[in-house]
């Protein structure tokens, strides 16, 4: 029983990691209609920028804030310079461009910072808290907490602010939006900037747990995709819940289903993606998109 509880708690804390990146994936999908495969590597790269600043003697929160600003600007810049020219190209083209970005960021990070793992400071103390027979570290709680906080901010932003509503309108109906005076191009750029910013938060939260190195996000990205698919790509809350679910499912299946064991854990994530798409393509909380033809 204690073992089961411990696996669930450890699954939840890993799930927090998946949820944080899944949020960025969902955000950019909601704001631009694009699935960005480079999201994880962009987050990793901005985390290196934060690491550089902290090593140069900056206080943690100053580096944190500066990194968010840079991440936002970089996201906008990438949209304007790289995505804009292929904006009206088929979806596959945009997917390929984002995979290209993925490998570019990964290689540049390896080239500049080498592949040696680096410790990254955490704003939360690493002291473990005892919860009955099991323990959880404040870091893990922090990651989950911040993910939930970002979720609430996103919810409010997309539901109750003019800017957020305008961004959603652009995705739903670009022509109509332009007719009512929304600057469609800038809304898309803004979406990239915001997703890059949320990604940077994820990167800085996750780095203390998994250590900073160029491949830090590649494993997490697959699970984040599974989480977002499970929860529904157009539901931020669903993605967060999907993340926590993924973490727990992965641990329980790995521990108690002996023929899967730890060797096929990644397969579980891929199976979740496949099953969701087969049974309920919109995910647990996604809405069915209806478009007039």
């Amino acid at each position: 029983m204690a073992a089961l509880l411990q696996q669930i708690v450890s699954g939840l804390s890993t799930g927090g990691v998946y949820a944080s990146l899944a949020l960025a994936l969902v955000l950019i999908y909601q704001a631009t209609g694009v699935v960005n495969f480079a999201q994880g590597e962009m987050a990793m790269f901005t985390t290196y920028l934060a690491w550089t600043m902290i090593n140069a003697g900056w206080p943690y929160w100053a580096a944190f804030a500066a990194t968010l600003a840079i991440a936002f600007a970089a996201g906008v810049l990438i949209e304007r310079v790289i995505i804009r020219p292929v904006e009206n190209a088929p979806v596959l083209t945009i997917v390929m461009v984002s995979i290209g970005l993925l490998t570019i960021f990964n290689s540049i990070a390896g080239w500049i910072y080498t592949y040696t793992v680096k410790p990254f400071p955490s704003p939360f103390p690493s002291t473990p808290i005892n919860l009955g027979p099991t323990t959880i570290s404040l870091q893990d709680l922090g990651v989950g907490g911040v993910s939930l906080f970002v979720l609430v901010v996103m919810y409010v932003f997309f539901r109750h602010t003019t800017l957020g509503l305008a961004m959603r309108a652009v995705v739903e109906n670009p022509v109509g939006s332009r007719l009512v005076g929304i600057r469609v191009g800038w809304m898309l750029a803004l979406g990239w900037g915001l997703a890059s910013l949320v990604g940077a938060v994820a990167g800085m939260l996750v780095a203390p747990l998994v250590f900073l190195e160029p491949n830090m996000m590649s494993g997490i990205l697959i699970y984040a995709f599974a989480s977002a698919t499970l929860g529904g790509f157009n539901s931020a809350g669903g993605a967060v819940l999907g993340g926590f679910l993924m973490g727990v499912i992965e641990n329980l299946v790995g521990t108690y289903v002996t023929f899967i064991g730890t060797e096929l854990k990644l397969t579980v994530a891929l199976a979740v993606i496949l099953l969701t798409l087969l049974i309920k393509p919109t995910g647990l909380f996604g809405r069915v998109a209806v478009s007039r033809v």
Partner: protein, 418 residues
């Protein structure tokens, strides 16, 4: 014209083909009685491949130090009057590239031998080629246990202790010193992890194997390994064998500490770096972790008055000032280069490929200056594993502290049967 030109071309092709075959045969006949390539009265040409770029480029520094050591040997007059011409190509740890570069070394540069090519996948790619062409693939820098196969692959020889040997030392220590041991193992699910696992299990032998209460594996793609550590703790294990690469090693040590598990810990030498593993994991969490070492750690202040270490520092400063002398990889380069120089000196003027392999397979009790005292290089025509012994060391919160006697590691006979 066009139609007619096709037919006479056929016999011409056959003639060319026959000529080619004759040439190849001729070359082979020639090499049978002439001196092997790569040696003149004034020069010995030695080839190598190593990752100077790409994900494994951290290892590149080993070969830069090797090149620097050969410059030093040349400055001091060379080997029996011959200077070493060291040609090292970048393969970026990519096996197809290694193959291409090695063919270039053998067929265009005409090197005498391939010395210390780095990495298990790259060496696997050229294993067959080297043995077919009977060119020494000498002192390969990898810990896999398959390189010591004098019967099947008489032109290939390892150097460092194998993963298998190392793990068998941990098993012997557990049997000798830890009564009522209950062992939990975490290993990377690939050839490297399984090589270690086999060495550990064989080292425990049949009656000791039941001491293993839990085995957990992970994939390199796994973001975290917390779940595995929790399972190991819950299995009731009091000994933790940590067979992981640096990132996962650091995560495992930290998680073990965080959940309040206090087992006796063995960490494989692959991840014994203080800077890249124990520091990220936390020095407090790493206290008491044990590993097996064979060389003196140049970053350890314990050796600061050691004359051999002083000579190493002076050498690097003069011949490879860009290298970090505290990086143990440079010490590895220094030692492996010394091993080759020893073999070349003993070969004297008989620098045929066959004689070099013969000398390499007859090293008796060679202790190099940067190996721990008591660790001897020994080879024989049936033993192609130069370093087999290990010294155990315990992390004291700042550095690895050697303790106890030198252990002799076992040789993986099983791998050779395959």
């Amino acid at each position: 014209m066009v139609r007619r030109s096709r037919r006479p071309n056929v016999p011409r092709k056959i003639v060319l083909f026959a000529l080619g075959i004759a040439l190849i045969l001729g070359l082979h006949v020639k090499t049978a009685w002439a001196q092997d390539p790569g040696v003149t009265a004034t020069e010995i040409k030695i080839g190598n491949t190593a990752p100077y770029s790409g994900p494994a480029s951290a290892y590149g520094t080993i070969l830069k130090t090797v090149a620097a050591y050969f410059r030093k040997v040349n400055d001091e007059g060379g080997i029996n009057g011959r200077k070493i011409n060291f040609i090292s190509y970048d393969d970026s740890y990519s096996p197809p590239k290694t193959y291409e570069m090695t063919r270039k070394l053998v067929e265009q540069d005409h090197v005498l031998l391939d010395f210390a090519p780095l990495g298990t996948p790259p060496n696997t790619a050229i294993w067959k080629y080297m043995n077919q062409h009977q060119v020494p693939q000498l002192f390969v820098l990898t810990g896999a246990s398959k390189w010591g196969d004098p019967k099947g692959h008489p032109w290939t020889m390892g150097w460092q202790p194998t993963y298998y040997s190392e793990a068998s030392v941990y098993a012997h220590y557990v049997l000798d010193h830890i009564p009522h041991a209950k062992i939990g193992i975490l290993y990377q699910n690939d050839d490297y992890g399984k090589d270690y696992l086999a060495g550990f299990e064989d080292g425990l032998a049949a009656q000791g194997r039941r001491l293993i209460v839990n085995r957990q594996s992970y994939e390199v793609t796994d973001p975290r390994i917390d779940s595995q550590i929790v399972n190991l703790k819950n299995s009731g294990a009091n000994v933790f064998v940590n067979i992981t690469t640096p990132k996962f090693a650091a995560m495992a040590i930290r998680k073990v500490h965080e959940i309040g598990w206090r087992p006796v810990q063995f960490l494989n030498n692959v991840s014994a770096s203080v800077g890249a593993v124990l520091k990220p994991a936390g020095f407090e969490a790493s206290k008491g972790v044990m590993t097996g070492i064979f060389g003196k750690d140049p970053s350890d202040p314990m050796w600061k008055d050691d004359p051999a270490m002083k000579r190493y520092y002076a050498f690097l400063q003069r011949y490879n000032p860009a290298a970090d002398p505290k990086d143990a990889f440079n010490a590895v380069g220094y030692s492996v280069a010394q091993t080759l120089v020893y073999v070349l000196k003993r070969s004297g003027n008989n620098l045929s490929r066959a004689n070099i392999m013969r000398e390499a397979a007859n090293i008796r009790d060679l202790n190099l200056p940067l190996l721990m005292s008591g660790i001897m290089i020994n080879t024989s025509p049936t033993d192609f594993y130069p370093i087999k012994q290990l010294q155990l060391a315990k992390f004291n919160g700042q550095r690895w502290e050697p303790f106890g006697t030198v252990y002799a590691g076992a040789i993986n006979r099983q791998a050779l049967v395959q």
